[in-house]
């Protein structure tokens, strides 16, 4: 069972205090977008084996959403950051590349 440090309230939260929210940094497509772009926004997912940027909700805690970078194979967490970051911040990328030099953020 996982645990994350919530970057908002700084508590170490148990997985049972959180609810998962899927892939992070997906740009919303509203009216005016193409069918294909809308499909991608709504359904298409990277679903990588490896580092996954994802959303979590501190439901039984401060009630805030946050982002995490986690390996979907080993469950290692490379850091958590605010939900309002529109892409992974540098310190997260650094933390990842330090441990996995071959990793590329696609």
């Amino acid at each position: 069972m996982l645990r994350f440090k919530c970057p908002v309230c700084n508590t170490v939260a148990d997985e049972t205090e959180l609810s998962p929210g899927g892939e992070a940094h997906i740009e919303r497509m509203g009216p005016g977008s193409s069918d294909d772009a809308f499909y991608k926004y709504l359904f298409e997912r990277k679903n990588p084996l490896g580092i996954h940027f994802e959303r979590w909700f501190h439901a039984y805690g401060c009630g805030k959403w946050f982002h995490a970078a986690r390996c979907t194979k080993t469950m290692e967490i490379f850091g958590t950051y605010k939900a309002q970051e529109i892409k992974p911040p540098k310190h997260i990328i650094d933390a990842i590349t330090k441990k996995r030099p071959n990793w590329k953020n696609e």
Binding site: M1, L2, E15, T16, S19, P20, G22, E23, D35, D36, F38, Y39, K40, L42, F43, E44, R45, K46, N47, P48, L49, H52, E54, R70, T72, K73, T74, M75
Partner: protein, 415 residues
């Protein structure tokens, strides 16, 4: 291939069973195949089988990165039913269920299809209405189901607690010809059949690359070298996104861990499969005597095949509430499988952005029951290049058009 029968068994008994040959050949990849199927799970093997049987295409390789049947086919709770609400689903699952009825005889391999009946509990008024809707829809689509009263249910399943204080049981949807089968045997039986007519099953061979020429695939790279093909079909369940990535496209899928557990074996106490969707748990008793229990899926993307304990807790609670006598049984083992979930929780049998790549995936938590039907439909798609009636509704295009096939209305879990 030696035919399996009681007679042959007795005969072999006098020979210390030294006369039995391999169930399937150990194959090394040839240079080229007409069709390569990636993934030797139930769906991949069944696709190969119906390609050969229905379309005479036998120049086929099934490539498996690990051991045959070791994916979700080897780790599911084996529930087979076809009482789906939506017409498209009922069609393919019922086709599948009816193929299961005669599969042992067809494959000459006893897959122990056991139509012992599946009972889906209704524990809220809302669920009761949804099940009734399913019942009426099933009747018109030729799926035999019936609504069962709590009293009748108690007679059929004496260990059930119909008046649990939290969610008393208000009724049930009963599919008498639903049931279970011996999951591993399904894979082994198909493997033996296709191997006997010359299809190659190549185990311990992982697909690591896809080589394209213009808009088509020319060959695949594997840990056992490169292999050419005319058509390629991905049938890799939880790994579908990874193969798609190799082929240069993405899918509407997320891979998550789904859990199950078994208790120690006890003498038979429950003859059918029971699914309690409101409280999230389902249970059947295997022919060996263990209670086979299905749990929830982890909500986060997961390729570890482990999953966590909290879902097991929830499931076990739900089942002790439903079957109070199981509290003193012991959990023997728990495990997880990586299931591929689509946006509407219905599968994909489809063409892909690459002309000669076909796709079968997205069965999520409930594709064991679909193996024969899905293999049938996928074979048709691969053979013709276009989907037939069974597969057509399950195309990738449905997500673009908004033509969802949503079963969550009828049952919170889809096993």
């Amino acid at each position: 291939m030696k035919k399996y029968s009681a007679f042959a068994l007795v005969k072999e008994a006098f020979n210390n069973h030294l006369g039995w040959g391999r169930a399937w050949r150990h194959a090394q990849p040839k240079k080229r195949y007409k069709v390569i199927i990636v993934g030797a799970g139930g769906h991949g093997l069944a696709t190969a089988y119906y390609l050969g049987k229905n379309f005479g295409i036998r120049d086929v390789a099934v490539i498996e990165k690990g051991w045959l049947g070791g994916g979700n086919t080897g780790r599911n709770t084996t529930i087979i039913r076809s009482n789906y609400l939506q017409e498209e689903s009922a069609a393919i699952y019922e086709k599948s269920r009816s193929l299961y009825e005669t599969l042992s005889q067809e494959l000459n391999y006893n897959i122990m299809f056991s139509p012992r009946g599946v009972m889906m509990l209704c524990q809220t008024e809302h669920e009761l209405r949804a099940m009734k809707r399913t019942y009426y829809a099933n009747r018109l689509f030729g799926v035999q189901t019936e609504m069962v009263s709590p009293m009748r249910m108690k007679e059929m399943i004496p260990i059930i607690n119909t008046d649990g204080p939290r969610y008393p049981i208000l009724g049930g949807l009963w599919q008498p010809r639903g049931g279970t089968a011996r999951h591993d045997a399904v894979a082994w039986g198909y493997a033996r059949a296709i191997s006997s007519w010359g299809a190659d099953i190549i185990e311990n061979c992982e697909v690591t690359g896809i080589v394209r020429e213009a808009s088509k695939v020319a060959s695949i790279q594997t840990t056992k070298g490169s292999i050419d093909c005319e058509k390629l079909c991905f049938v890799v369940a939880g790994s579908s996104s990874l193969l798609a990535e190799l082929a240069g496209f993405r899918l509407p899928l997320e891979s998550v861990a789904l859990q199950a557990l078994v208790s120690e074996p006890i003498k038979p106490v429950m003859d059918c499969v029971v699914m309690a969707n409101t409280v999230h748990g389902y249970m059947s008793q295997s022919d060996k005597g263990e209670m086979v229990i299905g749990g929830g899926a982890d909500g986060c993307n997961n390729y570890s095949q482990r999953g966590s304990f909290q879902h097991i807790e929830e499931t076990v609670r739900a089942l002790i509430e439903t079957f109070p006598i199981i509290s003193r049984l012991r959990q023997l083992r728990q495990w997880g499988g990586i299931v591929d979930m689509t946006g509407d929780r219905s599968p994909i049998i489809s063409k892909t952005p690459v002309e000669n790549i076909f796709l079968n995936c997205g069965w999520g938590t409930g594709g064991f029951k679909a193996i024969p039907g899905s293999g049938w439909a996928t074979a048709e798609l691969v053979a013709h290049g276009n989907p037939g009636k069974l597969a057509a509704p399950f195309s990738l295009a449905r997500f673009v058009e908004g033509r969802m096939i949503d079963e969550s209305i009828a049952a919170a879990v889809a096993h």
